[in-house]
């Protein structure tokens, strides 16, 4: 019994990390239908910015988090202007290939500057252990922080997209870019803003994961980026609560497969479920109820 509760906690804490990265992924896709493979690498850059600020400048957790988010949003805007804007009207395959190129470019540029070795994050967020059920179940307060921040960011995103003016223009651009432009929406500005927010979310995730696992390296974005993409697709790509749901679902599946002796095949099972979901519900688990993207 204690073991099952512990595994549930493990699953939720792993899932909240996937969900955190998936939020930015799904948001960019929702607005401009671009699978931004560089998202995982912006997350990596965010982690390095957080590392530099806490290690070399001695900043605390919150200022580093905010500064990393800011740096990443600027990086996101630059990437959009330089790499994605010129090919906005080309085929989807060229957009996809460009996204992969940007991803590799970020990885290896970073590797050139910071060397491929793993670095350890300073312990800026003091976590403490909470134990219950006779000390058999453990919960780290860092898990609660990550979960709270993920939920907070999701609610914030929903607010921006559905209640603000810029959110309205985002939704308009996602429905029909040309029509929106004819109606006076500044599409360029809207897309830049989307990238800024999406990248800021990635930056926040980078710092949080850096603090949580305390190791970072230039290739750290690849696998979580892929998993977050899966989470976003599972929940229905383009739907913000879907990304959240998909993240938790994936984290829970991986943990439960490991818990029942399948640690060797956990990824195979997770991706197998993805294929099944896509066969039955091609728009993702939450994809049918909400027709309008974002």
């Amino acid at each position: 019994m204690e073991q099952i509760i512990q595994q549930l906690i493990n699953g939720i804490s792993l899932g909240s990390i996937y969900a955190l990265i998936a939020l930015g992924y799904t948001m960019v896709y929702g607005i401009i239908n671009l699978i931004n493979f560089a998202h995982g690498d912006i997350y990596m850059v965010g982690a390095y910015v957080g590392y530099a600020l806490t290690t070399f400048f001695g900043l605390g957790f919150l200022p580093s988090l905010l500064l990393a988010m800011l740096t990443c949003s600027i990086l996101g805007i630059i990437i959009e202007k330089v790499a994605y804007k010129p090919i906005r009207n080309s085929t989807r395959i060229s957009a996809l290939i460009t996204a992969i190129s940007v991803s590799l470019f970020l990885q290896y540029t970073m590797m050139y500057f910071v060397s491929p070795q793993t670095r350890t994050f300073p312990n800026v967020l003091k976590g403490s252990r909470i134990t219950f059920l006779n000390g058999n179940v453990m919960l780290d307060t860092k898990n609660i922080y990550i979960l709270a921040i993920t939920v907070l960011l999701m609610v914030g995103l929903q607010y921006i997209v559905h209640k603000t003016k810029i959110g309205k223009s985002m939704r308009a651009a996602s429905l029909d870019r040309e029509a929106a432009q004819l109606m006076g929406v500044d599409v360029d500005k809207t897309i830049s803003f989307t990238f800024a927010i999406g990248s800021a979310l990635a930056g926040a995730a980078g710092v949080l994961v850096g603090v949580y696992y305390n190791t970072i390296n230039p290739l750290m974005g690849t696998v979580p980026g892929l998993k977050a993409f899966v989470a976003a697709v599972l929940g229905g790509i383009g739907i913000i609560p879907g990304a959240m749901f998909g993240g938790f679902f994936l984290g829970m599946v991986e943990t439960m497969v490991s818990a029942y002796g399948g640690s060797i095949i956990k990824d195979a099972v997770a991706f197998g479920i993805l294929i099944l979901v896509l066969l039955v519900k091609p728009n993702g688990l939450l994809g049918k109820t909400i027709k309008e993207k974002v």
């Binding site: 073991q3 595994q7 792993l14 793993t118 305390n214 190791t215 439960m256 490991s258 060797i264």
Partner: protein, 390 residues
Amino acid sequence: MKKTAFMVLSLILSLSLFVGCTSNQSSSKGDSDTIRVGLNYELSGQVATYGQGLTEGIEMAFEEINENGGILGKQVEIVKIDNKSEDTEAANVSTRLATRENVVVLLGPATSGNTKAAIPAAMQNKIPLVSASATADDITVDKDGNVREYVFKTCFSDSFQGVMMAEFAHGDLSAKTAAVLMDNTSDYAKGLSEAFKKTFTELGGSILTEEAYQAKDTDFRAVLTNIKGTNPDVLFVPGYYEEVGLIVRQARELGLDVPILGADGYESPKLTEIAGKEALNNVYYSNHYSSMDDAEEVVEFNKKFKEKYGKDPDGFNALGYDLAYFVKDAIERAGEADPEKIKDAMAATKDFKGVTGTISIDEKHNPIKSITIIEMKDGVPTFLKKLDPK
């Protein structure tokens, strides 16, 4: 135009054949007044620190040997070539040393992969090749189980570490049950855990559970919770320091406080950084050497090394130093610097005393030597004991 190119090409080809023949003849004579030793090491590239560490040890040893009159009255001449940490380059360097540089013995490369690439040239040209750090099981033996006549190793094999850690767990820690958590993407981890499981069950212990992870994973809480549920006496995690650091930390966070055992993949200052000092207690691993060993020859080596290079020696320095003296020992027993006789002398090595342990070469050209057990105390690696093979 085409014709000229063809002519040039054929000229080069025939010349290279010719070069191959002549150097083979001269190397078999071996009557010069120096003994040439070929070093094929990773001096740049990905694993440059391994190659550089070994080379430092080797060069220091040969300098000492030359100062003391050389081997059989002849001075040793080192021919050192960088293989850039690449296997194709390691093969090229090996061929060049064996065919054009008239060396009587080939040392290196450092990693198992590069050593495998360097072996064909040594076998074809019948020059003994010795590696001091290639720990894979299939270096000295080919895939059909035949011993490679000209290939030797002065470090123990991966599987041997698994055997010794099982004996350590059973004997010194009196463990009856164990859990295994291994990286299923690495041959190193697989070889170690197979050997550990086999020996531990033979000794009467039982393996409660076997879990796996993949290199680059960061979250191990699910498998660790499982392992904690089975309540083993020890946990065996053969892996590299990056994942092991996280595993140790997360295990302690989940309240899994049993001894954690591993092998030479743990050896890195990064392990302490990643796992944190508090978590690194009750962690034991096997290694080739410890600078904290208080045996006489180790203390002596540490002193001399520090005088020369101004730093404490690491495992690679010590392995390189032993390798050079191992070669000296073999050439002296061979009576002359002839590759064929050196090979026979190496195969007959018995109780050669080095700083990384006493070495005897077995029928598979692997050394029988003692292993060093390191215990982590608050994140500091401390020498625990030397364990001799049974």
